[in-house]
């Protein structure tokens, strides 16, 4: 027989380490500890999964193609500016198709002049075959498209992270998944809808001039119910002057709370975008109505001053994600780099608007392709029921083992407790996330942990039946069961590892507890219970075994 004391110490060490590791998972105990202990211990233990504490899990997809279109649109804008600067009388510049822009002009002699401008747009190349003597087609280079798509997701990731930081969520997860997906996890959040809106909003802020000369402007209805937006757009689709569009302002009647839309005729050309903001804050106006005060950076401030100086007495629309917030008349040149966004919104809406403006716009719209929201009450129910069922199951097994195997059963029960302690300690040390299937995994390991002991005990009984003395029977039982236990555990471990590698979310949680549980099982069954049997045997010569 091997020496016992070494293994007893090992067992005690493992138990102590497990308990110490588990402490950070139980905040009341952690807080009660003296300062030096807190300094030594990690301050994070087992975290509860979204299904247990409530929260949202979103998978978002960046609309990459739209990001490319937006980039081409931007180039169209700057080419228009350049043509005006160089006094080249081109007729129109338009985005045609997702990655092309077409420049049209009346005089064929302009063609060479316009071609030269391509030097200023290195990310485009001219499409040779298309176009005519009075038009040129430019195409965005493949490498550039790839770069735009790639940076779109990184930028979206960064923007979402910023917004969530400002919104204030404990331990959020914002990660890239695969090529174009972003996973956002917000545990314990109370207002899921608000958080989702905050994440999804593109928050593209634009300043555009109203078109006040067009005939169409006079024909527009003064206001429409919100469902009829698209009707109005359709009705005026072919009457709109070149380069104009219809955008709507959202108006809520203060007395009745009814929502209306006020249509405006707006020039498509973007004067300034939200890129040039350095800050956005909520302020309260003189009638107690909240508004957002924005501050431009140096370049934006100069630009804004120039635009306002050139457009005095004209109306400028403040547009966010294609909705007009306000359309004030420019009274005078505005220097100092500040402006206001007013509109009918609550303090909370103004707050969220300030957050998205500060965090910046998303490079392209996002689609939510997976949305799991768990309310806090379900999580509480689940924990309560899960824990209750686990305890009950544990007690049943403990009683069964004692009834069936008597003293040996009690030793197996000790192994069971040891198992649980080690498992919780290990989960805590790994700062694992405990999900509901994870709890099921723990319960399952309890069942399988018992299996190892049953195997050993049945073997010992057989040895005893064959007339062996107690000590050789125990040793024989352990020896013969050893290979079987290893084989059976390894096969289950293979399943667990496959689940861990390919499972997602809650299934991963299940796989983690299962794999850890199996490893710990092996230890407790082969070392834990054997030590106790050996201890009994060492003290005195045992004639009969209670099994």
């Amino acid at each position: 027989m091997k020496k016992v004391s070494g293994r007893v110490w090992l067992l005690l060490l493992v138990m102590t380490v497990s308990v110490v590791c588990f402490v950070p998972s139980y905040q009341p105990v952690l807080q009660a500890l003296p300062a030096w202990a807190k300094a030594v211990l990690p301050n994070k233990g087992i975290t509860l999964g979204l299904d247990l504490q409530g929260g949202i899990h979103l998978v978002l997809e960046v609309d990459e193609d739209r990001a490319v279109e937006i980039a081409v649109d931007r180039s169209v804008n700057s080419l228009q500016d350049l043509l005006v600067d160089k006094k080249i009388p081109a007729e129109s510049v338009k985005r045609t198709g997702p990655q092309h822009m077409t420049i049209q002009f009346q005089n064929a002699e302009l063609k060479d002049q316009i071609r030269k401008l391509l030097d200023d747009f290195p990310s485009f190349l001219e499409v040779e075959s298309s176009g005519s003597s009075t038009s040129v087609v430019w195409e965005l280079r493949e490498a550039e498209i790839k770069r735009i798509k790639d940076s779109a997701i990184n930028q979206a990731l960064e923007t979402i992270r910023n917004r969530i930081d400002q919104f204030g969520v404990a331990e959020p997860v914002v990660q890239r998944q695969g090529l174009k997906q972003i996973v956002v996890q917000l545990p314990g959040i109370k207002e899921p809808k608000r958080a989702k809106d905050l994440i999804k909003e593109t928050a593209l802020l634009e300043f555009k001039m109203l078109d006040e000369d067009g005939q169409v402007k006079l024909q527009l209805p003064s206001r429409v119910p919100k469902e009829q937006e698209s009707d109005v757009v359709r009705q005026f689709a072919d009457k709109l002057p070149e380069g104009d569009q219809i955008l709507f302002e959202r108006v809520i009647e203060k007395d009745t709370g009814r929502e209306y839309r006020v249509p405006y005729l707006v020039k498509k050309r973007v004067m300034l975008t939200g890129d040039v903001l350095s800050d956005a804050r909520v302020q309260i106006g003189q009638f107690n109505d909240p508004y957002v005060s924005i501050t431009f950076d140096a370049k934006g401030g100069v630009e804004f001053e120039r635009i306002t100086a050139e457009n005095i007495k004209k109306r400028m629309a403040v547009v966010l994600d294609n909705t007009i917030y306000s359309a004030p008349v420019i009274q005078e040149r505005i220097s100092g780099g500040r402006a206001q966004i007013t509109g009918t919104f609550s303090t909370q809406e103004a707050n969220d608007l300030a957050i998205v403006l500060r965090a910046g716009a998303l490079p392209a719209p996002l689609k939510i392709i997976q949305d799991l929201t768990v309310g806090p009450s379900l999580g509480r129910d689940s924990i309560e029921k899960g824990v209750k069922a686990t305890l009950f199951a544990g007690i049943l097994v403990v009683i069964f083992m004692i009834v069936y195997y008597r003293l040996s059963g009690a030793i197996a029960d000790f192994a069971l407790v040891l198992n649980l302690v080690c498992l919780m300690g290990a989960l805590s040390a790994l700062t694992a996330t405990l999900t509901l299937p994870g709890i099921a995994g723990i319960v399952l390991t309890i069942g399988m942990g018992v299996d190892s002991n049953v195997l050993i005990f049945e073997r010992i009984r057989e040895e005893l039946r064959n007339g062996k003395a107690v000590r050789p029977a125990i040793d024989g039982g352990y020896d013969k069961a050893l290979l079987t236990i290893i084989d059976s555990h390894v096969t289950t471990l293979i399943t667990g590892v496959a689940l861990f590698l390919f499972g997602t979310g809650p299934i991963k949680g299940f796989a983690v507890t299962l794999c850890l549980g199996i490893a710990i099982n092996l230890f407790t069954a082969l070392v834990g219970t054997k030590v106790i049997f050996d201890l009994f045997n060492q003290r005195r010569k045992v004639e009969t075994l209670s099994i």
């Binding site: 949305d371 309310g375 018992v450 195997l455 059976s488 399943t495």
Partner: protein
Amino acid sequence: MLEILGKTNIDFMGKRKIAFAFSGVMVMLGLVAVVQIARGAANLGIDFAGGTAVQLKFDQAVRIDEARKALESNGVGDAELQEFGQDNKLLVRVKASTTIEEKTAERVLGIFAKEFPNNKFVVDSSTEIGPTIGKKLQEDALIAVVISFAGIILYIAARFELRFGVAAALATFHDVLAVIGAFYVLDKEITLLIVTALLTLAGYSLTDTVVVFDRIRENLRMRRRESEETTVNNAVNQVLSRTIVTSLTVVLVLIPLTLAGGEVLHDFSLALLWGVIFGTYSSVFVASPLLLLWPGGQGRLLKRS
């Protein structure tokens, strides 16, 4: 010494024809279910099929037919409803391969707020899954299944012999198919969680089979003049009480989990429970007799050692 079974000498191998007939039926049922799942005709959970699930907890009980009427009259006709009685909980599922942009969840909430103004509710959970995600999850689940099976067959083939690996894999397939078949017949929803349960029960059933095989291997090495059939039969009888005690403890664990573990764990535990029962049966009645069917397998293990 308290024993459920004493020393037994049951002729399990002699009953293999009956067992194979029964198992054949279960496997056929399972295969039908798998084909139906692949065709999308089975009750696939929204995590695979895509769609929306909203679980609400009301102040007062809501009758399921009233809820259905409310939804239908507001244009959500294709919803499936399920209630969890004692907690006034209602689960609304809308399976559709639409995008989330339609905001089905918000629509459902709006309808209940409008139609049941005096019965307040809180949202327990809301799940919306786009069809692309469902595809990905299906693929991932399939990969997990294939990899774990390949790994297990390889491991057993290495530790024992090829015929043991194949018999164990077939018996495990049998258990998984039987549970899938049972779920299909009862029109239970196949969710990602159920797939997890299936993989777990595959692992469990294998464990069980390995224990029996281990004893068969041991006895084959020591045998003198008995036929292979007798050797296998003796081995099964020798480990029978262990097989039953083990299954009993796992069943003892799973029953409270099924009955009181809450709605999320119910189907999961139920799948495991059936799995344990089938797994125990198959180790004795399927895996072991399959060893005897292997052509020319007589005594090879004996020579090898």
